[in-house]
């Protein structure tokens, strides 16, 4: 009973399409995490930044009747929240973990509160189709068997995420700016003495992580769900964080981790047909991640100065 269903599920384009979409949703905040941690700022607040992105994206889209404006607003909102994290952790040298937790808590409270104030509790309606981030169908390519469904019928943000993924990989490891970012994350003093503006770079990277998380929020709310729900990110930012570490702080690695996780998520719904308890199936992505962590990856080394506030020429 199990194996036929399993085979049918695993070979269906539908599963892989869903896996890639889940993965892309995780990938954006994960990329944000990568760039932030590479510059030496620990960011566990992707969850909150995403959630803010969801809410602001929907609210602004409704107000402006333009999805583009909504997406921009979501991105900016994520960036602003990240800026708070930046100020607190770079300038005020706060404990970055606490700051991250605080941002998550604040984002949850704020979005819930605003949602109630705005709708009186009824909840935001589904957005009209023209107020959504559209799914791109690549003409004849989309008609290809299997591959068409998996690769060429995805949301526009999916392709954007791929572009950002490749761009970020290139940026970090093939450009001068990337060299500087890595230098700042590994050894801020050295970077400073080489004339690199350490704080500026850290700010930029943290804000970038917020922008990406905000975009992920917009993707979730405007692309996938078409509405806002309280706490609709449901822990995704933390999974993205895990993907960052799991992916050894590289964009491609994180993408691999997100893919594993997305596959787990998509499988857990589809294997319910086999009669396995849905609760147990829901643990699948997490178990897959742990197994991958044990078996394939092993030790990951964070950038040397990750999480350490930089104090130029400090009083020791």
């Amino acid at each position: 009973m199990f194996w036929p269903i399993f085979l049918r599920v695993i070979t269906s384009g539908d599963l892989w399409q869903a896996s890639l979409q889940f993965a892309a949703l995780l990938l954006l905040p994960a990329l944000g995490g990568v760039i932030s941690e590479r510059s030496g700022v620990v960011n566990i607040a992707m969850e909150g930044m995403m959630l803010i992105g969801c809410y602001v994206g929907v609210a602004v889209t409704l107000a402006s009747h333009s999805v583009l404006v909504g997406v921009l607003a979501a991105i900016i909102a994520g960036g602003l929240l990240a800026l708070v994290h930046g100020v607190v952790s770079i300038h005020l040298k706060a404990d970055q973990i606490i700051s991250g937790i605080a941002i998550n808590v604040a984002a949850l409270g704020l979005t819930n509160y605003l949602n109630i104030v705005q709708t009186g509790g009824q909840g935001i309606p589904s957005l009209a189709f023209n107020l959504r981030l559209p799914v791109l169908s690549w003409g004849p390519l989309a008609q290809l068997p299997f591959l068409g469904q998996v690769l060429f019928q995805q949301n526009v943000v999916f392709y954007l995420a791929i572009v950002i993924l490749l761009g970020l990989q290139f940026l970090l490891f093939r450009t001068n700016l990337g060299l500087r970012i890595r230098a700042v994350g590994e050894h801020p003093q050295a970077a400073d003495t080489a004339g690199i503006p350490v704080r500026l770079i850290r700010y930029a990277c943290v804000v970038a992580s917020g922008l990406l998380s905000g975009l992920a929020g917009a993707f979730l709310a405007l692309g996938v769900a078409g509405t806002f729900n309280p706490n609709m990110t449901a822990g995704r930012g933390f999974i993205a964080l895990a993907a960052v570490v799991f992916g050894k702080y590289t964009p491609l690695g994180a993408a691999g981790a997100c893919l594993i996780f997305g596959l787990g998520l998509a499988l857990s719904v589809r294997l319910q047909d086999t009669g396995i308890d849905s609760n147990l199936l829901a643990t699948l992505p997490y178990i897959l991640t742990i197994i991958a962590l044990i078996g394939l990856v092993g030790r990951t080394v964070a950038p040397a100065a990750d999480g350490v506030p930089y104090e130029p020429g400090s009083a020791e």
């Binding site: 539908d14 819930n112 104030v117 589904s126 309280p230 319910q272």
Partner: protein, 361 residues
């Protein structure tokens, strides 16, 4: 501190708070919430409190509906708004206690509060309680305890599920020829949040009556394991549509389920809303909604109480008492589907048809 002058730090600090404040402040201009400005007038002043479960006020489900009924009554009877959103299961007893101390009638929303209501009701025998989806159950017992000050408000979700199931099945019977969007595989789906009783009762009725209309119909059921993550429900619905060719999806997952309706809309098939009338989400593709009139129940209970008619044995909110039903029908629903549902509804009201609580296999 080369880069960090003191002014910069203070500015940074201010910026931090400002971002938070700006967000709060901005919203207020939109629609000012808060009900504190209502001034109680004449009548015998009553005092009513509402305690939600962990879903919170905007759960797109029974908490929200309870609040709708509560607000309606509040505007009518001019009592002060007293609402507590529970953040934690451990909060139920204390939130009910707080509410009971300051109000005369306390609503507990959700079956998870059964034990807590029992305990608090014993402690405050002079206060009245009403619990939605449940009754007072002493810890360690299975059965309801009948207390003079507790009104259990039960709903027969399965009856609502039955009606929408009948509509869906009849549409399948009518088939592709009549309704072009259908895929012609005689398959309908249901996406639940978690397999918990209020959810499974809906699905039980849905499947039972669908099979009753068309024994050959296939009903696929999936759970998203979540009530909030909209995209998971959407994915579950999509997998039903894509893999099983289901063309009518019944969502029973609160806020998460909005995603299931969305999936149906996008895929060009149909969805069925739950609890509230969710036709507003997609007026075309949401063919109807399985209604659970929690708002009515709450309002009625307050109304009775205000007129001194509080009873610890309110009617069961079923079809016969108009406690459940189906919502706005979309234009695509053919007349025979509606009549099928109405026909079953009559049988249920008459007692000739009993809808099971558990999902038939």
């Amino acid at each position: 501190m080369r880069n960090g002058g003191i002014p910069a730090r203070i500015v940074a600090l201010l910026a931090l708070f400002c971002v938070l404040l700006a967000a709060c402040g901005g919203s207020n201009t939109g629609s000012s919430g808060g009900g504190s400005s209502t001034t109680p007038t004449a009548q015998t002043p009553i005092s009513v409190a509402l305690v939600t479960d962990i879903g919170g006020l905007n759960d797109r489900s029974f908490n929200h509906l309870a609040y709708v009924g509560y607000t309606k009554a509040m505007n009518e009877f001019h009592f002060t708004r007293q609402v507590i959103e529970s953040k934690n299961q451990a909060d139920y007893v204390k939130n009910l206690t707080l509410a009971a101390r300051s109000a005369d009638l306390v609503f507990a929303v959700g079956f998870l509060m059964q034990n807590a209501v029992d305990q608090v009701a014993h402690q405050f025998p002079t206060k009245k309680f009403a619990i939605i989806d449940g009754c007072a159950v002493p810890a360690g017992k299975q059965d309801c305890e009948s207390l003079p000050n507790v009104a259990p408000l039960f709903f027969k979700e399965q009856e609502a599920g039955c009606l929408v199931g009948a509509i869906a099945a009849q549409m399948e019977v009518d088939g592709k020829t009549k309704i072009s969007q259908l895929r012609g595989h005689n398959t309908i789906g249901a996406v639940g949040g978690l397999p918990i009783p209020p959810v499974t009762r809906y699905i039980a009725g849905y499947k039972f009556c669908a099979k009753k209309v068309d024994p050959s119909i296939t009903v696929v059921i999936n759970y998203s394991q979540d009530f909030a993550a909209t995209d998971k429900c959407k994915d579950a619905a999509l997998s039903q549509i894509n893999q099983h060719n289901a063309d009518i999806i019944f969502q029973v997952a609160g806020g998460c389920g909005v995603g299931a309706l969305d999936a149906a809309d996008q895929a060009g098939v149909f969805g069925i809303g739950v609890d509230a009338d969710q036709n507003y989400l997609h007026p075309k593709s949401v063919i109807t909604s399985a209604l659970k009139k929690v708002d009515v129940a709450v309002y009625d209970t307050i109304n009775d109480y205000a007129h001194g008619k509080f009873t610890n044995n309110p009617p069961r909110f079923d079809l016969a008492h108009d406690g459940v039903g189906y919502g706005t029908l979309s234009s695509v629903v053919p007349a025979d589907a509606k009549s099928k549902a109405d026909q079953l509804a009559d049988q249920i009201r008459a007692g000739t048809l009993v809808v099971p609580e558990n999902i038939p296999s």
